[in-house]
Structures are given as structure tokens and as C-alpha cells.
Symmetry: C2
Subunit: 252 residues, 2 copies
DNA sequence: CGAGCGGTTGAGGCATGTCAAGAGTTGTGG
DNA sequence: CCACAACTCTTGACATGCCTCAACCGCTCG
């Protein structure tokens, strides 16, 4: 494992505060692997042998039932996934596949469990990480149950904009079919929903999204920290550039 | 706080393995309150001051957006809720209200956080509890995204039956409007879905549910441990009494 | 160049929501 | 204890959001 990644991992909230000794022994027991795109890393139902850490690339977490399939999350560097299954020594509830060429650190669950038994700081960090994951799924469930497809998409657009420091335009970070699955709709429905967003202040052109009327879009999506995440507090307190000027700046 | 409840709480996975001393000081700092039905205990968005423990009665966890509202869980004795918010010292993502006369133990979050800093066993138990909650929400999300309304209802019926030791008949533990909200549909849709379950092996009469053809119902709902919970492993390995005999035994 | 795949569009269908009315039940105050 | 109000649940008629199926376009990559 290269030093630069080691440092990145060490810097994760999960590992930041543990003792150096425990960190070293954890990572020494770990595997560092690079996978091509579309490789299934984890099969739901299988037993959790390793905590996964994405250091490069991206990973889709999804689940199936009968012939259906749905995306539950996309994991980007640097972060961990399926911590909960490792802890409970239980079967994975989700499958995972790489979306692109992806580098993963695999930490054996046994070492993990052994470590937070002896390192209180690591135990605390684990608690914190789990609580965060929990809250994030609760938000996803609320999004699904309280909003319709178009509202979910509108809120997604606003979240992405927020993650781009409030930029009026941005590029979709994932394929549309994947986004559709994440939002819980079909690709066809997503396509139509995107078109219909024009009426409420956003325009989509290929992978590019432009917010043409932020106020209207916010009035429609009514984003809230209790669904859209801690970073998103409506636009209260912000004063972001509006539409066309910046839109043209990035070439539309 | 009465001894019998103290013992029940002490027996919870969360508190079972901590030191007696820490348990005593935690519960001494706690409040014991009894609430009438329909009292709002928690408002989403508010800060998490107390871990709640239901010792008698039942509590609905729900969330709202605009004028909509949805039920995310129903908590029954003896168990805790909103642990995650207490840990992160973050706003609640869900509101909570009593469904009936309900007795709650309130443990101040500050004491909670102080305690698992000094009691490794308690920290471990917290990790385990959180991991369980996380997995349970993930299952809820999968249920919502992978199954349609009727399939969710059918699976719910099978879960309830399972919880009643595989009984062919049981009584719905919650109001239908609440069940509808939990399943993510309207009461009207639930009503029709219940009627339509007759075609796939279950009959509903008022609050009573009878499984008339377990095989058919399972073929339809295709329950799986990865959505319906660890207790539910299809009917593999079981050999349960079938329909009419037991149905009549409970009076239908 | 052709196959395959992602995305879009259209036509049509079905599941679920909405609105309204009525039966049955529960709770409440006189 | 009754009468009335409020509420749950059901049912019907209707609306609509989203899905399904099919065709087509444009790209990418053998």
C-alpha cells in the first residue's frame, strides 16, 4: 500500500483517532486490490469477511429481488462501506460492484472487531461512522416515501449543486440509468422527469445540468436538512450567483 | 423506576454487558415518565437530548415533508430509539408520538456519551445496536424499492405470522392507517390490497388475518432474510400447520 | 462497419392516489 | 346511559404518475 493512500485512510474519521500501533497492525493485515469496471466485489447474502475502503474509483451498492434490482448508494473515495455487516458478522444486505477501475483496501472483519475491542478511540469512531450511515439511509427512505419522482430528482439536482459549492451548473457524476435506479424509477421516467424540470427551473443537456431558476427549483423541491443532508440548509444564508451568467461561463 | 423495569432494561442488549456501576449512574440520571396516547415525544429537527427507552406501550416514529407524513417504524417494549441522533448530537430525523398510554425512560445524551467513553463493553453494545438499526432501515428501503404495494403487504403478513411462531392466524398489532403509512401507501390502497390478497392465500377480516394458503402466499411474496429480517428464512426447514384447522381454532 | 449500449420518445396500460360518500366504531359530554 | 361527534375503514368513480414495450438515435468499441 502506498504511503499517500495510507495517509488518506489514516485521515478518515473512522481511523483518525486510533493509536498508531493499532492502525499499523490493522492495515498490515489488509489487502490492497485494484479491480476493473463492473466487477462484483460483494454478493448480498454472503458473509462479511472484509471492511471495504474505496481509495480510487467508485462503487455501486445495490440489491436485488426476483428479477428486480435497485441502487442504494454510490461510494466514492475516500470512504468505507458495509461496516455494519462486518460488525454483526452477518450476511451483507447489499451487493457491490465497481463502476470504473477501482482501488479497494480490504480489512479483515476479524481484525476490525478485535481492534475496536482494545482501542476505545476506534470504538468511538466506529459508533460515529455507523450513526452517520444510519442517518443517511433514513434520509433515503424519507426521500422515497415523502417525495414523488420529479421532486426527488429536483432535490437531487439541488444537492449536487450544493456539493459543487452552489454552482449553477454541474456534470452528472453517474450514468443516468444508475441515477434512475438510485431514485427508484425507470430510466424512461427519469428522462421525462428531467425534461419536465425545465418548468421548475433546471435544464439538462446530456450529462450537463444547469439551474436556470434556483428560487423556483427550491420552491418546488423544498430541500431540507432532514432529508437532503446536513450540508443542505435550503439556501438560507447563501447568496448564490443566479443562472445565465455562470451557465454561459461553463459553455451552454 | 421500579425494579422490574430496571431489570428489563438491564437485560437489553444495549445495557446487558456494561458494568453495574455505570448502569446505575446512567439510570439514576434518567427520567421515568408515562404519557397518554397521541403525545408527541420528539419533533424532527430538534436536538437530541435524550435516549428513549419504551418500557410499556408503543411509539410511532414518523417524518413529515410539506403536508405529507410517513411512518418509519413502530417501537415496542422493551427497546430503545433515536440512539443515532444522541450519538451524533445531531437533530432528530424522525418525530415520535405515543400510540397508546406509554411509559418511557429518558436517558440524557450527555450521560450516554460520557458512559461509552469509559465503558468499553457499553461502547461495543452501542456499536452492535447501531449496526442492527442500520440494517433494519436498509431492509425497509429495499422493501420499498423492490416490491410493489401488494407484495409488501403480503411480506408483512408473513413476517407477522412468523413473529407469532408461524401461526396461521393473528391480529394486526397496529391500526390499518398506520400500517398503510408504514408500507408507503394510502389507507384506501391498503384496503384494496388486503382484499386482493385473497387470490394469493390470505384473508383479512377486521383486525384478524388468516393465512389460507401459506405456500401460495410465500410464492407470491417471496420472503427473504435479506429484506424481511434474520428471523425470516422463507419457510425452509419449517413445517407449519396449514390453514383451516388452526384458523377455526382461533374463531373464524 | 456493425453490434451493443445508453438515452430518448411515443403509445398504451396498470398501479396507486384522490375525492367523495357511507357504514361501523369509539370516545365524550350531557 | 344515550346522543352526537369524530374517526377508521371500506367502496366506488375517476385521475394520474409511473411502468412497459417498442422504436429509434447517437456513441463507443470491437
Amino acid at each position: 500500500m502506498r504511503d499517500s493512500e495510507l495517509a488518506d485512510i489514516r485521515n478518515l474519521p473512522l481511523f483518525r483517532s486510533m493509536t498508531e500501533q493499532n492502525f499499523v497492525s490493522l492495515t498490515r493485515a489488509a489487502y490492497d486490490q485494484t479491480f476493473p469496471p463492473q466487477v462484483k466485489l460483494i454478493e448480498e447474502g454472503a458473509m462479511a469477511d472484509f471492511l471495504h475502503i474505496v481509495v480510487e474509483g467508485s462503487v455501486e451498492l445495490f440489491a436485488g429481488w426476483r428479477d428486480r434490482e435497485t441502487t442504494l448508494a454510490v461510494v466514492r473515495p475516500v470512504s468505507t462501506f458495509i461496516l455494519a455487516a462486518c460488525i454483526k458478522d452477518a450476511p451483507y444486505l447489499m451487493s457491490a460492484r465497481t463502476l470504473e477501475k477501482t482501488r479497494i483496501i480490504l480489512v479483515p472483519s476479524v481484525d476490525l472487531r478485535a481492534t475496536f475491542r482494545i482501542d476505545p478511540e476506534f470504538a468511538m469512531a466506529t459508533i460515529s461512522e455507523l450513526a452517520m450511515s444510519y442517518r443517511s439511509v433514513v434520509r433515503h427512505a424519507k426521500d422515497l416515501k415523502l417525495r414523488n419522482a420529479r421532486e426527488r430528482l429536483a432535490a437531487y439536482v439541488l444537492r449536487q449543486s450544493q456539493m459543487a459549492n452552489g454552482a449553477v451548473g454541474f456534470v452528472l457524476p453517474i450514468e443516468k440509468r444508475l441515477l434512475a435506479s438510485f431514485l427508484g424509477i425507470t430510466p424512461e421516467s427519469l428522462s421525462r422527469a428531467m425534461k419536465s424540470l425545465q418548468e421548475v427551473g433546471a435544464k439538462v443537456d446530456g450529462q450537463r445540468v444547469i439551474i436556470t431558476d434556483r428560487k423556483a427549483l427550491e420552491a418546488y423541491a423544498q430541500p431540507t436538512a432532514l432529508i437532503d443532508g446536513p450540508e443542505y440548509e435550503g439556501s438560507a444564508g447563501f447568496d448564490l450567483p443566479d443562472a445565465r451568467a455562470e451557465a454561459e461561463a461553463i459553455g451552454l
